[in-house]
């Protein structure tokens, strides 16, 4: 029961309770030894402090409350660079188009026409770039001739995609698998969309053929960026 003890602390008002075996077998109250810190730990902690301080100083944008990304500060800060349309196009193509046209762009014989070297994609014969955009906006159905082969199935409309997304997909399929047609711009898609709002049902080859072809030529559509025609340069030379 109680341990025999002369300890003065035991003379408290409450009688000491029965001491159970778990309490009785305990070691004495814990103590600590004092030994120096290991040298390697001090060095290692010092390296971490240096690294942490360096990271804090160089990635905090001068601790300003309005700097959210220290890589873009001051005059350089502004809207982020627009994403590459081909990257967007590749992802959208993989999600939406590759099911029928295949990831290789080769299509399925008799049903889904290929995109590789197809005159419908890169242009040629009577087909223009406006036809390509119209097909994406309203879809297509019925027999269609591609590279001399006949295909017959239905393609759903993709008008729910944004102009930039349609331009991305078309730019991607016109530059992949050896295709080398110029990029389709967002403005061009918007222009075609504006004149084809009344068309709700999918196109047929016959209906499309009735529409005159428009092309987005390399020089023409990329034109806003290329006003460097020889005319202004001529007078000084003269």
């Amino acid at each position: 029961m109680n341990t025999p003890s002369n300890d003065p602390h035991k003379q408290s008002e409450t009688p000491a309770p029965e001491v159970s075996a778990p309490v009785l077998r305990e070691a004495s109250e814990p103590t600590e030894k004092s030994s120096p810190l290991p040298f390697w730990l001090v060095i290692f902690a010092g390296i971490l402090v240096f690294w942490g301080g360096f990271h804090l100083a160089s990635n905090s944008g001068g601790f300003k409350p309005d700097v959210y990304n220290p890589e873009i500060t001051g005059a350089a800060a502004g809207p982020a660079a627009p994403p590459d349309p081909k990257v967007i196009g590749k992802r959208l193509f993989t999600q939406n188009c590759a099911v029928c046209h295949q990831g290789s762009g080769m299509g399925v014989a008799g049903q889904f026409p290929p995109l590789v070297a197809s005159e419908w994609v890169v242009g040629g014969d009577w087909v223009g770039d406006n036809h390509l955009v119209k097909i994406l906006l309203a879809g297509m159905q019925g027999p269609v001739q591609v590279k001399g082969q006949s295909y017959n199935n239905a393609m759903p409309p993709w008008a729910q995609l944004k102009d930039s997304e349609i331009a991305g997909i078309l730019t991607y399929i016109r530059s992949e698998w050896g295709n080398t047609a110029p990029a389709i711009t967002e403005e061009f898609v918007a222009k075609v969309r504006a004149v084809s709002t009344e068309r709700k049902e999918p196109w047929t080859q016959k209906d499309l053929k009735a529409i005159p072809a428009e092309t987005i030529s390399a020089g023409g559509a990329a034109a806003p960026a290329a006003p460097a025609n020889p005319a202004p340069a001529a007078p000084p030379a003269a």
Binding site: A16, V19, R25, N59
Partner: protein, 485 residues
């Protein structure tokens, strides 16, 4: 045991220890018992959530068992129903032991414990009814938290009062940790609730505050209490002194200095000023210092005397917990490096780290402490050592499955998310088998929680008259090693 007859004033006799323990037993047993109940409750909801994550039709159509509510309930009840009461019970017992005086007004703590549990009940029901907030670990609605606050105030006042009444003599390292934790909890919980729940600040400031709270709740509340228990129970049960007071000091101050800052690293690239995230990265890297200092201190203390870990439940659970804490802090540091974080940020890895910290460290350490403390409070031994062994292995394999599954799945999911060519849907499908694996881990954790609750009921109701201490493994009769149970 050798110092029973000592006359030194700063050394307790067995009778004094028994008297001190009798003052804390009511409150501590209430907190331990209720924490076991809420542990089973939270583990059950954790299992439901884990099943729903892989099989979304599970319990479909029952509004209060939808995924969002189930997971919020599991996480929040785990934190405030299990972890916090277990921490309070440990802190109360340790405070009285370390200050060498009986706890004053211990009946007040029992009333406060009942109020606390009512608060958890109100909070859990209101989350299930759809009234939770959107912040992790702060999901209780505005009307439930004041109940917890009143209850906590009634507890903390008498803990601090006992500190004030302590007998002279230097404070042992455990006392620093308990004192820091008892003061940190109301500071963290009050500030975060005031700024996010009661009177929300403008939206852009909210994620930074929420992450400051969630990292502080773990690093400044649960971790110090767990470490205090480890620093007391390891030397107490083995009779060995703590290896180095300087390592303890280094670990203590670096933990306090950097602990609450680490959350910023979780919102790299998020809509907060750049210095908040870079401070989070620096603090997460600095957490390697307390990880090494504390881990090394425990290792040097036990070096050459690891044998009792095989048979002592307290030592086995606590040593496992410390191992998890060191691993957790090192993984947090690696995960915060911006190059790594770019891949792991929105993956299951963050959930894996949550389990490693809250379960691998805190729950395991708390179990170890409870296995040590409760026989001293009730006066009799644990009913069945085999059941303790089963609890250990269920818990270890459970969180081992969860952590390894979610880390592996998270790596694959994260690398899929960071490639533009892979769709979001595919990244979820890649993680699916690993989530099923983690779901098995959740089931094992539920089994371990039930096992633990049964053991606690067994010792409280004294179902088996077990006279011998509960050894998890064979201990040689004439072993030189301490009993350590």
């Amino acid at each position: 045991m050798s110092n029973d007859l000592s006359n030194q004033p700063d050394i307790l006799t067995a009778a004094e220890r028994a008297q001190i323990d009798s003052s804390t037993s009511g409150a501590a047993l209430l907190f331990f018992g209720s924490s076991a109940f809420w542990l089973v409750f939270a583990s059950l909801f954790d299992v439901i959530g884990a099943i729903q994550l892989s099989y979304p039709c599970f319990l479909d159509g029952i509004s209060f068992l939808t995924y969002g509510r189930v997971v919020q309930t599991a996480t929040t009840v785990m934190a405030y129903g299990f972890a916090t009461p277990a921490a309070i019970g440990i802190a109360v017992w340790l405070t009285a032991r370390l200050c060498k005086v009986p706890l004053s007004h211990h009946r007040m703590l029992v009333s406060a414990g009942i109020v606390w549990n009512l608060g958890i009940l109100v909070g859990a029901c209101s989350i299930l009814a759809g009234n939770s907030t959107s912040f992790a670990l702060l999901s209780f609605p505005a009307f439930a938290t004041p109940i917890l606050f009143v209850s906590y105030a009634l507890i903390a006042i008498w803990v601090l009062f006992t500190f004030n009444e302590r007998k002279s003599g230097g404070l042992f390292v455990s006392a620093w940790f308990v004192f820091a934790a008892v003061l940190a909890f109301p500071w963290l919980f009050g500030t975060a609730n005031a700024l996010l729940v009661w009177n929300p600040v403008s939206a852009p400031a909210q994620p930074a505050i929420a992450l400051w709270f969630s990292s502080g709740f773990f690093n400044l509340w649960l971790v110090p209490v767990g470490l205090a228990a480890a620093f007391y129970i390891i030397p107490k049960s083995t009779g060995l002194p703590v290896a180095s007071s300087n390592l303890s000091l280094l670990g203590f101050w670096t933990l306090l200095l950097f602990g609450a800052w680490t959350g910023g690293a979780q919102i790299i690239g998020g809509p907060v000023p750049a210095w908040i995230t870079s401070a989070g990265v620096a603090a997460s890297i600095m957490m390697i210092v307390p990880a090494l200092a504390l881990g090394l201190n425990f290792h040097l203390t036990l070096d050459g005397h690891y044998a009792p870990v095989a048979w002592s439940p307290a030592l086995r659970f606590i040593v496992t917990g410390i191992g998890c804490l060191v691993t957790y802090w090192i993984l947090v540091a690696i995960n915060s490096i911006p190059g790594v974080n770019a891949m792991t940020q929105f993956s299951d890895i963050n959930r894996a780290l949550y389990y490693l910290g809250h379960f691998g460290f805190f729950a395991m350490t708390a179990f170890g402490a409870i296995y040590y403390i409760v026989p001293r409070l009730t006066g009799h031994e644990w009913p069945c050592a085999k059941f303790i062994s089963l609890h250990y292995w269920l818990a270890v394999t459970g969180f081992g499955f969860i952590v390894s599954g979610l880390i592996l799945g998270g790596l694959i999911q994260g690398s899929a998310l960071s490639q533009t060519i892979i769709t979001f849907r595919s990244s979820v499908e890649f993680a699916w088998p690993f989530r099923v694996f983690a779901m098995l881990g959740s089931l094992l954790i539920l089994a371990s929680a039930v096992n633990f609750a049964l053991l606690l009921i067994g010792i409280l109701l004294e179902t088996h008259k077990n006279q011998a201490p509960a050894f998890m493994a064979e201990r040689e009769e004439n072993s030189q090693e301490p009993v350590a149970v």
